[in-house]
């Protein structure tokens, strides 16, 4: 095996077996003939702060009592570590013990049913059932189309794809530089997001058909479905579906006419979901973002043109194609994952024309709402006075948020904004890849300042300093993570400056601090 192949295999094994001990790492280095530093850097990146028991401190879990879960673990003398997003955000606070997932309710840890393999198996939609509900109905017709790019235009039309991405994908489709790749991004590390995992587990065939359709439109040679290593059930379902699909395509005489399609686990850290970081992870490197340019559509996986498209978008393709051939209007229902201070956290499917306030009402939001994270904590914080908007791209853009992950986290008036932002910045500081200085040092600095504000030890000077740090992060970070960490801090500070200033004077209106 050449060096790159050995590196890839070793990285896969480290991720799959969650290898952290030096003894085991040494064995891996020997087995694949790699430098010790190489296996160490991979392991410590993917399993930074790892232990058999992990408590999610993602905002949705935190709002549902992750701190209480921590206290209980400490009371029982169980060693644990902090992590961010284990999935199942609507069942928080989530605790992972080995391969099992628990929620902490009424002072006890209860296994989350949806996380059990037998449960996931029972929800799986086999190929025959998928076909009965219309799967692969227009596949062959599409195959015979001369210009297949219209399918991308449909995605733009319904708001699942941006105009910039469309033109890059068109360039990729016509590029002669081969092999070309399509990566289906099944990472979903955003705290509060759980739609992609559910699609992979339940609408597996729909996603696979979407991937094949897109691979034809994009004219690629290989499709790789990159699944977060925490979603082992999803991977099992995809493998099952792939074997069914293989037989089906063989029987139709299509197998050799289509690009190969495989599934691969990638590391779980938040940043790996960024598309160039995902590519790095698939190549067997640390899942850190790359410099741009070049865009992955020019030089991505192994330096070849690569399209990275999210699971939800991929799974929408067969539906849009059906609508198109049946002459229906191109509309799609977007998935929303709603958590936080609502009565009915969970997955909602709505047209994009839905109002944010309507959506929150459906999830059972309380009257006294203070603010909402729209698109996740890395997208933006929206004051309650601004929530009467529709979620179409034109309106969300004005709010300065990006809806992609569909994550909505509601904060009630009982929440202290300083406390929430402290946890948000702790998340960024924990999940920064550590590569660029504004993010590595800026997130740490914001945590420091927020801790001092929480303790009533900060001054107006500190606020100014934090503001300039956050602006520098926003303007100079290498990737979206550092930019977001600065941006959401500024979102909070500009919209809730009075609360920050009250803390400097020793007042916390939510009654969290200074008790």
């Amino acid at each position: 095996m050449d060096y790159r192949a050995r590196l890839r295999e070793a990285s896969k094994e480290i991720i799959e077996r969650r290898i952290v001990s030096d003894d085991e790492l040494k064995k891996i280095a020997d087995k694949y003939g790699l430098p010790l530093s190489t296996v160490k850097t991979l392991s410590t990146f993917y399993f930074h702060d790892y232990s058999e028991v992990q408590v999610c401190m993602g905002l949705p879990c935190l709002l549902k009592g992750a701190r209480e879960a921590v206290k209980e673990l400490e009371r029982r003398g169980i060693k644990y570590s902090i992590t961010y997003c284990l999935g199942y955000c609507n069942r928080g606070p989530v605790v992972r013990m080995g391969d099992k997932y628990y929620t902490f309710i009424n002072d006890e840890f209860r296994e989350i049913e949806e996380s059990r393999n037998d449960y996931v198996q029972s929800q799986y939609e086999p190929l025959d059932r998928y076909i009965t509900r219309g799967g692969y109905k227009y596949f062959e017709k599409f195959l015979s189309e001369n210009n297949k790019l219209f399918i991308l235009e449909l995605l733009v039309k319904v708001g699942l794809l941006g105009g910039g991405a469309l033109s890059r994908f068109k360039t990729l489709a016509s590029s002669a530089n081969r092999p070309k790749y399509l990566i289906v991004n099944g990472h979903e590390g955003e705290p509060g997001g759980f739609k992609d995992r559910l699609i992979m587990e339940r609408n597996t065939h729909q996603m696979l058909e979407g991937a094949l359709l897109l691979s034809l439109a994009l004219n690629v040679d290989e499709v790789i479905i990159a699944v977060n290593e925490r979603f082992r059930n999803a991977k099992a379902m995809i493998e099952k579906a792939l074997s069914e699909l293989g037989q089906y395509l063989t029987s139709k005489g299509l197998l050799n006419k289509l690009p190969s399609i495989t599934v691969s686990l990638v590391g779980s850290p938040y940043i790996v979901g960024e598309e160039t970081a995902l590519i790095n992870s698939l190549e067997g490197n640390r899942g850190e973002p790359r410099l741009r340019p070049p865009d992955p559509t020019e030089a991505g996986l192994f330096g070849k043109p690569t399209a990275v498209i999210n699971v939800e978008v991929v799974a929408a393709v067969p539906i849009l194609l059906g609508n198109y051939y049946e002459g229906k209007e191109a509309v799609i229902e977007k998935y929303f994952c709603i958590t936080g201070d609502v009565d009915r956290p969970g997955l909602y499917r709505e047209k994009l024309t839905v109002g944010l306030d309507e959506l929150l009402a459906k999830a059972g939001v309380k009257e006294d709402i203070k603010a909402v994270f729209v698109g996740g904590i890395s997208s933006g914080l929206v004051h309650s006075s601004k929530i009467r908007v529709r979620l179409i791209p034109e309106e969300t853009r004005k709010l300065g948020v990006f809806l992609g992950p569909g994550v909505i986290i509601a904060l009630s008036n009982n929440r202290c904004i300083v406390d929430v932002m402290l946890e948000v910045e702790r998340f960024f500081s924990h999940e920064s890849c550590g590569r660029c200085e504004p993010c590595r040092l800026g997130t740490k600095e914001l945590v420091d300042v927020l801790e001092r504000i929480s303790a009533g030890k900060a001054s107006e000077e500190d606020l100014k300093w934090a503001e300039s740090v956050a602006r520098t992060m926003m303007e100079t970070s290498l990737c979206g993570l550092g930019m977001s960490a600065g941006k959401v801090f500024l979102d909070a500070l500009t919209q809730f400056r009075d609360e920050f200033e009250e803390h400097i004077k020793g007042v916390c209106r939510a009654g969290i601090h200074f008790r």
Binding site: D22, K26, P35, K40, T41, D49, L291, S432, K444, T476
Partner: protein
């Protein structure tokens, strides 16, 4: 190259399309602060270099210019952002010493931007476990330059980023201390570090810094030496074309010899009546007396006249050092040929790569590597054969490793497991001495499969049909049987080499130091011609030269029968031209090679030798015979920078200047590139440059060479040899290193040979044969002893042993043996045994090591405690007279313990 117009700080300027803003600004003399910038690699992590572009902040080191950009490098917003970033860095930053702070760019910028520099806290916790480097984590700003240096540029892969999040840091191996790690001490991390967090132990600021070419191997790295009070105090990599800033442990930490108190500082004349040979602990002054230059040179001149009168010019021979400059070597050969009249002159190539030079010259035209080193990054398949380059040519290995990491197929052929194999796709642990069989079988298989380059062969080559007919015996089965490499692997390697093109072959002395070294090299050349892997980027034939100027030594004619620029002594027209320029009569005989000269001396036919910078008694085979030969000479002159074991046999010892650090001139590296050496320090005492000594001696013999300085010599070289026609010191100072042939001032040099065909018309396939080892020899002497080198030492260690740092890194005077062999012989690790070869025996300490396969022993010739070459019989290659250092048959005898 397209040009674009941009506005830079309010002024419209022209920019080269594709260059970075930083590059553009620097070209216009605008300084932008940088911390993480690493030339040649996109890092972009510190963002301190932000500038405002059309109202947005952009990191200038990775942002490329484009038409219409409005760039403000000093806008209030850019400066404010830099200050915020500096404040963040300074909050997490302390120094352990004033010296460390002096090395810190963060603190330098802090002062510049009106901030407080980081505090000096002497008791901060550091990692000082490494013999030469201190790591202070508290000064580290995670710019990751050391990670690039170690893991992407040098590819030693010791330093890596540990962890994730704001607590990421750098660590060594599995996060152990630096001293315990697999660090090979190349020093690239230290040279890269912008804060002093990684720094040489005991570093002091220099009074001046001078750039020159490294004195060690043939890679031709450019080095900057720091000089304080007339002594070299540190070295760091400079950005030359062959090394791009990199050095190895010898280049980085092997400079101490220059300052050594053991340097010879005055001419020495043997006291009367003291027998020649080892000093055996006697002080030098008891054996030699100091003399003036006049006295020593007069004595030598009179001895030369006396011997010429008694025996004629054929009784005098000279061996020149390839550590010297082209100019000095040229002066030597002219002095020997014209002032003395002998053609028995040689250089060290005879002991190492002459089989490569001979076969390449015979079959292709030039006796030199065909492509630049860096070109290996364009190869898709790379075969490295008979080379432990990770230790002997670490900077070249860096490029090979980088190519492999980028996806090239790397194939290693070597009897011994080498470090480079970690990066390889295939490692072929070949049975020693069977290379011809392997490469001929690959050729036969490629022909059988129809994978050869028919166009190339018909257009550019001759002798193809004859050669094909000679391959009949080399079947895959035969090859598997003889080489012990499974035939499926031979097939796959042949496929990669023939089809995954361009393919390059690199080799060192594992190919040449055999009785059939010329055949080995020809087998490689034939394979390259067969597949058309010559004359193209990423292809080619690359002998890796072992000494800084061994290529140059041959180029300027320091070899019997060969005048400067590869012109034949026996060609009447060539003779006429040289005799006209040199105003002398050239010798009318072709002289002897160095190994033959020693033999002639032993047999009493050569009466005087002039040995410059060669430790012959330890570097030639059969040391006993060499000692006998040197003792028998009527007169021996040794010119060196140290009192070597060879100088102990001399009648006169002349103190030489170090060519690389105390003289001005040129070295030619392994890729035919002429680069400058500069005077970094003055020679100690009365030591003189080699060329000066030869010029003075010639004058005393009534022959004025007319050289006032080395530039005069360079001018003459370019006049007499077409391949150097366009070269001069002035031009190389101006343009940097240039690769010959460069026939005129306009020629940019020739990075790739034979791109437009072959100078001899057609390249030639050479029919070669192979024969196995004689059965009787094999049963009497069941082991093959391979004598090579190790990373931190160099040849007979006259230079490297003076460095305290290199000394602690040595492997020691030991002989490595496979664990199974050791068990069968009943030997334990560290046991002392007797090694018996057909000509000699030695008591040695063994080390059990799985690096060597069964039936093979490995040792080095670095240690005065272990004269390994004493075991090597003077069995020479019939053409080039090169000894078989890689193929000495020995047996092991257990010592009876008392």
């Amino acid at each position: 190259m397209g040009m674009v117009k941009v506005v830079l700080n309010g002024k419209e300027v022209e920019a080269v399309e594709g260059e970075t803003i930083l590059n553009l600004a620097r070209r216009y003399g605008i300084e932008i602060p940088t911390l993480c910038y690493y030339e040649g690699f996109a890092n972009g992590s510190c963002r301190i270099c932000v500038v405002e572009v059309n109202g947005r902040l952009m990191p200038s080191c990775i942002t490329k210019v484009s038409e219409g950009m409005k760039i403000e490098t000093e806008s209030a917003r850019a400066i404010e952002t830099r200050k915020t970033l500096l404040r963040l860095l300074l909050k997490n930053h302390t120094h352990r010493s004033k010296e460390e702070q002096m090395r810190c760019r963060v603190c330098e910028y802090a002062v510049k931007y009106g901030l407080e520099p980081a505090p000096v806290m002497p008791d901060v916790k550091v990692d000082d476990t490494h013999p030469a480097i201190v790591f202070n984590p508290s000064a580290c700003v995670m710019c990751r330059k050391c990670v690039i240096a170690c893991g992407i540029d040098q590819n030693n892969d010791v330093i890596a980023v540990i962890g994730r999040g704001s607590g990421t840091r750098v660590g060594f191996d599995l996060d152990t201390s630096m001293g315990m790690s697999s660090c090979v001490s190349c020093g690239a991390c230290v040279d890269a570090c912008p804060t002093g967090a990684l720094m040489e132990k005991g570093w002091v600021p220099a009074d001046k810094v001078v750039e020159t070419t490294c004195p060690y191997c043939g890679t031709g790295c450019q080095v900057e030496y720091g000089v304080k009070d007339g002594r070299v105090v540190w070295a760091r990599g400079a950005y030359g074309p062959a090394n791009e800033g990199k050095l190895c442990v010898k280049g980085k930490f092997g400079y101490h010899y220059v300052n050594s108190p053991e340097r010879i500082t005055k001419p020495l004349i043997r006291r009367p009546g003291i027998p020649k040979g080892p000093l055996n602990g006697r002080p030098i002054h008891e054996v030699f007396r100091e003399a003036t230059w006049d006295e020593a040179l007069d004595l030598i001149a009179s001895k030369i006249r006396e011997i010429l009168n008694k025996y004629g010019p054929a009784a005098i021979g000279g061996i020149m050092s390839d550590r010297s400059t082209n100019e000095s070597i040229y002066a030597f050969q002219r002095f020997m040929r014209c002032a003395i009249g002998t053609d028995s002159i040689d250089q060290s190539a005879t002991l190492c790569h002459e089989p490569s030079a001979w076969s390449l010259a015979t079959q292709l035209g030039f006796g030199a590597a065909t492509n630049p080193i860096r070109d290996v990054l364009n190869s898709r398949t790379i075969i490295v054969v008979g080379s432990n380059m990770n230790e002997t040519h670490p900077v070249i290995a860096a490029y090979v490793k980088r190519a492999a990491k980028q996806g090239a197929h790397l194939i290693i052929v070597n009897p011994i497991h080498t470090e480079l194999a970690r990066y390889a796709e295939y490692e072929l642990l070949i049975r020693p001495g069977t290379d011809v069989v392997l490469f001929s079988a690959m050729a036969r298989y490629i022909i059988d499969m129809g994978w050869y380059d028919k166009d190339f062969i018909s257009k550019y080559t001759e002798g193809f049909e004859d050669w094909i007919r000679s391959l009949g015996a080399f079947t895959l089965e035969f090859a598997e049987n003889v080489t012990r490499i499974p035939k499926d692997i031979i097939k796959e390697v042949a496929r990669l080499y023939a089809l995954e093109k361009p393919s390059m072959i690199m080799w060192t002395l594992g190919i040449t130091e055999h009785e059939n070294g010329t055949e080995n090299v020809s087998a490689l050349i034939n394979l390259a011609l067969l597949t058309g892997n010559v004359g193209k980027p990423g292809a080619g034939l690359m002998p890796l030269r072992g000494q800084n100027n061994v290529q140059g030594g041959a180029d300027v004619g320091c070899a019997p029968g060969r005048l400067p620029g590869y012109q034949s002594l026996t060609d009447p027209e060539v003779r006429r031209r040289f005799e006209e320029v040199w105003r002398c009569r050239l010798p009318s005989f072709v002289g002897f090679r160095s190994t033959e000269m020693i033999d002639m001396a032993r047999r009493g036919l050569i009466k005087m030798l002039y040995i410059v910078g060669e430790n012959s008694v330890r570097s030639h085979p059969d040391s006993k015979a060499v000692a006998e030969a040197l003792s028998k000479l009527e007169f021996l002159v040794v010119q060196d920078i140290f009192m070597t074991e060879t100088a102990e046999y001399a009648d006169v010892v002349l103190p030489a200047a170090s060519a690389a650090l105390e003289d001005y001139g040129t070295f030619t590296n392994t890729e035919r590139r002429l680069q400058l050496t500069r005077k970094v320090v003055d020679p100690p005492g009365e030591a003189k440059p080699d060329w000066w000594i030869f010029t003075e001696l010639a004058r005393r013999l009534g022959y004025d060479m007319g050289f006032r300085n080395s530039s005069d010599i360079m001018r003459e070289i370019s006049r007499v040899a077409t391949i150097f026609g366009g070269l001069s010191h002035e031009r190389i100072e101006r343009e940097g290193g240039i690769q010959w042939p460069a026939p005129n001032e306009k020629s940019p040099g020739t990075p790739i040979l034979y791109a437009n065909g072959f100078p001899r018309g057609r390249a030639k396939f050479r029919v070669i044969s192979w024969r196995g080892v004689d059965v009787v020899t094999e049963s009497l002497y069941p082991y093959v002893l391979i004598i090579g080198r190790e990373r931190a030492q160099y040849h007979t260690a006259t230079m490297t042993s003076k460095s305290p740092i290199l000394k602690v890194m040595w492997r020691g005077p030991i002989v490595e043996i496979n664990p199974e062999d050791a068990a069968r012989e009943g030997l334990e690790d560290g046991e002392t045994v007797k090694l018996v070869s057909p000509i000699n025996e030695l008591i040695v300490r063994i080390r059990v090591s799985s690096r060597v396969p069964r039936g093979v022993l490995f040792t080095t010739f670095h240690y005065p405690e272990l004269w390994a070459n004493a075991l090597v019989p003077a069995v020479l290659n019939p053409i080039t007279k090169t000894p078989a250092y890689k193929d000495t048959r020995v047996r092991i005898e257990k010592l009876v313990r008392t």
